[in-house]
């Protein structure tokens, strides 16, 4: 009986998770499940039901816990396939010490990105047992 019934999820306008369709290929056909979908802790990313080679779909954006696991898991994150935009009421601010200028994440006319990678790189290597 349940096999016949169709199920849906509502869509809410949101770019908390924003995909670039020119970069994201839905992880198709490399991975059985898009890696961002697999990583999502709140399970609010759906593999694209209409075309698996297109970006996943964000449902229930209000449930996002901003863990960034989706961005972290994406093989093309550094090329911008997927972004996490913190919700508008949660945008950190800072002040430049020398000049006193104020900035915030997502401001109009933002300063240029700071390209410095983390200590040990964006994705430090996890060595497999066999390799050592």
């Amino acid at each position: 009986m349940s096999g016949e019934k169709k199920y849906y999820a509502p869509l809410t306008p949101s770019i908390i998770i924003e995909f670039d369709p020119n970069v994201c290929d839905g992880c198709y056909p490399t991975f059985r499940e898009p890696l961002c979908v697999k990583a999502c802790r709140m399970d609010i990313l759906l593999p694209n039901p209409y075309d698996r080679s297109k970006p996943p779909i964000l449902i229930y954006p209000d449930e996002c816990c901003e863990c960034g696991c989706c961005v972290h898991a994406c093989p093309k994150s550094l090329q911008g396939a997927i972004k996490l935009n913190w919700p508008t009421h949660k945008l950190p601010r800072w002040k430049r010490k020398e000049t006193g200028e104020h900035f915030r994440v997502g401001m109009p006319n933002p300063p240029p990105p700071n390209p410095t990678p983390p200590v040990g790189g964006w994705y430090p290597e996890v060595k497999r047992r066999e390799e050592r």
Binding site: M1, S2, G3, K6, Y7, Y8, P10, L11, K38, A39, C40, R41, M42, D43, I44, L46, P49, K54, I57, I59, D62, E63, C65, E66, C67, G68, C69, V71, H72, L84, W86, P87, H89, K90, P92, W94, K95, R96, K97, E98, F103, R104, V105, G106, M107, P112, P113, N114, T116, P118, V119, G120, Y123, P124, E125, V126, K127, R128, R129, R132
Partner: protein
């Protein structure tokens, strides 16, 4: 596909009638840090083990760790595990601070060894690239980096981002079946009786809605911490409490409670949260935890003073914040208030910014807002805080990523800080507290229920990351051994049917309310009545409120797909947990002179029994009289 549509078709096959039955020696409930370690250890011992995890084990639990705590077994550490437990016990007794002596002491003896095990699995724990050569927190020989108290060396700074991957790879290598996206909703007990032997668990697939019945000889509860209904989903209706997983709703806790496990609650009068994170966690400046020992300055650039928590003396330099010897602790003699020689271990004695700060702002001594002065920190500290701790923790990787993409430069910029003296700038924003009510266990991490073990933050008062890893391994070994000595118990299928009926009720409704409405109501009741102003009358009203919700509005929640069903079940658990915490708090209010540990147990009659365990019950018969003897006697290797 753009947003020109209002709905999306559910991509997974839904089958609320489907039932899967799985038999195993050891069932691990929750595949986060403790659960992963438990499964690895049990599998290595030859037990048949499966993991049931609400998320995908791939990213379950907090993704990483920036501080590896309690490594008193590190040969370089200046404090021994025995000295540490003595100090800790004394400190918590004086201050009435909760702690888990069994889990802690075992962790003090196993923390560093477990970290080395993790390194063998491929995790990165050393500065092999010599990026911090010459820094005062680096050991030049081992290339290990220390945190908080550089002369004590019991806490390490690590590349936690690599931890989750290393554990996941090992689970896959060991071919442990991982049942991801399965939310365990109830434990099964022999004859379906509360207090009976735990013989398995049941759960729902969060995508297909199928039902799962696990039959197990031993079950390990590894479901992490929960917040007792104080702050669950964002009550403002937008944004989950930043970085915390849905396990905070406490479905696992609730399952174990309903089975009859002995629970140690929290006195919610001292823990207040709001469910609303007004800033992404770790993405604002602060002087503690990951950001320790960052200098905080006011709007005019004036430094906020630091203070030593024991001596209450001002801490004048950055070096004094991180070297206990410079604060007069005499590399592990006592501070002046503790004249006799007592070893000083780390986290509980580190300096902090002065807590009376708010008053001083009101007096005009300091001007808001505050900033984390990263540019003013020595270069190696700045890189350690932002480039390593924030960037490599795992789940806060995104904080580094988002801030640097937005142009933030730690060499030039001061990140605004939103809290001070235990208060947030936005008066209704979250305070970073967790409830840490949990289950009582013995030196084998067994609960009072036959067949049920517990590990990690589900243990009473929680154990943090290193403790989760250690207790997971320990419990995994003990559960595997136990499973060898027993056969599978008998499942009571009536219990299974009762649970199915309960679980799927929200899917059968065609009108009613969304789980969100119920969630906001629970949070609101808890905030209004269960707080530092609570008295007996207030708590009774809260209980009545929650009870009314349970028998009224909770019955009206509708779930239109398996995802909504999952959130609904979490919210229903949160409601039940909110009652539990309120009940516990009420009992504490009624016993103002309580000495010892107050715990609670659900009896088979449905009554709640309160138990007072004496102080140091963990060293009274049937246990040995000293920490060390118990450790040696129970050590699984």
């Amino acid at each position: 596909m753009g947003l020109n549509q209002f709905v999306v078709e559910w991509p997974y096959p839904v089958n609320y009638d489907g039932i899967n039955v799985i038999e195993t020696d050891v069932l691990v409930v929750g595949g986060g840090i403790s659960g992963s370690w438990a499964a690895i250890e049990a599998a290595r011992r030859g037990a048949k083990v499966v993991v049931a995890e609400e998320m995908d084990v791939f990213s379950a639990g907090p993704a990483g760790c920036d501080h590896w705590h309690n490594a008193f077994d590190n040969p370089a550490c200046k404090v021994t595990p025995d000295e540490a437990i003595e100090t800790m016990e004394r400190y918590v007794m004086e201050r009435g601070i909760p702690f888990n002596p069994i889990g802690r002491y075992i962790t003090y003896n196993e923390s560093f060894k477990t970290l080395l095990e993790l390194e063998k699995l491929g995790a990165k724990i050393r500065d092999t690239e010599d990026e911090f050569k010459g820094a005062p927190f680096r050991d030049e020989e081992t290339k290990l980096l220390y945190a908080y108290t550089y002369d004590v060396k019991c806490t390490l700074r690590v590349w936690g981002q690599t931890f989750r991957q290393a554990l996941y790879a090992e689970l896959v290598r060991l071919r442990v079946p991982l049942y991801g996206r399965v939310l365990i909703t109830s434990l099964l007990t022999e004859d379906g009786k509360i207090g009976g032997r735990v013989v398995g668990a049941v759960g729902v697939h969060t995508r297909t809605g199928e039902f799962y019945v696990f039959k197990s000889k031993a079950t390990i509860l590894c479901t992490g911490s929960f917040d007792g209904g104080l702050r669950i989903f964002g009550y403002l209706g937008y944004g989950f409490y930043s970085l915390h997983s849905p396990s905070m709703a406490g479905v696992g806790h609730n399952a174990a409670w309903r089975a009859g496990a002995e629970f140690l609650g929290i006195d919610a009068r001292f823990r207040r949260g709001t469910g609303h994170g007004s800033m992404p966690s770790y993405a604002t400046g602060n002087p503690s935890n990951t950001w320790y020992p960052c200098t905080i300055v006011d709007a005019d650039g004036k430094e906020i003073p630091w203070i030593d928590p024991l001596t209450m003396k001002p801490v004048s330099s950055i070096e004094e914040r991180v070297i206990s010897d410079l604060r007069g602790y005499k590399a592990l003699g006592g501070p002046p208030s503790w004249p006799e020689t007592t070893p000083i271990s780390h986290a509980f004695f580190i300096p902090s910014v002065a807590q009376d700060f708010l008053e001083r702002v009101k007096r005009g001594e300091y001007k808001l807002p505050l900033y984390a002065d990263l540019p003013g920190m020595p270069e190696h500290e700045r890189r350690a805080i932002f480039g390593l701790m924030v960037a490599q923790e795992g789940k806060t990787w995104i904080v580094y990523y988002n801030l640097t993409r937005a142009g933030f430069d730690p060499n030039k910029d001061m990140l605004q800080s939103y809290w001070f003296g235990g208060r947030h700038l936005d008066p209704i924003a979250n305070l970073f507290t967790s409830a840490h009510g949990g289950f009582i266990h013995d030196w084998d991490f067994r609960t009072n229920l036959e067949g049920l073990f517990v590990a990690g933050d589900a243990c009473f008062y929680g154990l943090e990351h290193a403790g989760a890893a250690v207790s997971g391994r320990w419990a995994g070994a003990k559960a595997a051994d136990y499973a060898k000595s027993v056969s599978l118990g008998k499942i009571d299928w009536d219990q299974v049917e009762r649970e199915r009926k309960r679980v799927y009720a929200p899917t059968a409704k065609t009108s009613g309310v969304d789980w969100r409405e119920l969630n906001v109501a629970i949070c609101t009741v808890m905030r209004t009545y269960v707080n530092d102003l609570s008295n007996e009358e207030m708590l009774k009203i809260a209980l009545k409120w929650l009870d009314e919700l349970e028998r009224g509005e909770a019955e009206k929640v509708v779930a239109r797909n398996p995802h909504e069903l999952t959130r609904t079940l979490e919210t229903l658990s949160a409601l039940s947990n909110a009652k539990l915490i309120t009940l516990y708090t009420l009992e504490r209010v009624r016993r103002p002179n309580l000495k010892g540990f107050l715990t609670m147990i659900l009896k088979s009659s449905g009554e709640v029994e309160f138990v007072v365990r004496p102080w140091r019950w963990w060293l009274l018969p049937p246990y040995a009289p000293t920490y060390r003897e118990n450790y040696e006697r129970h050590k699984p290797w």
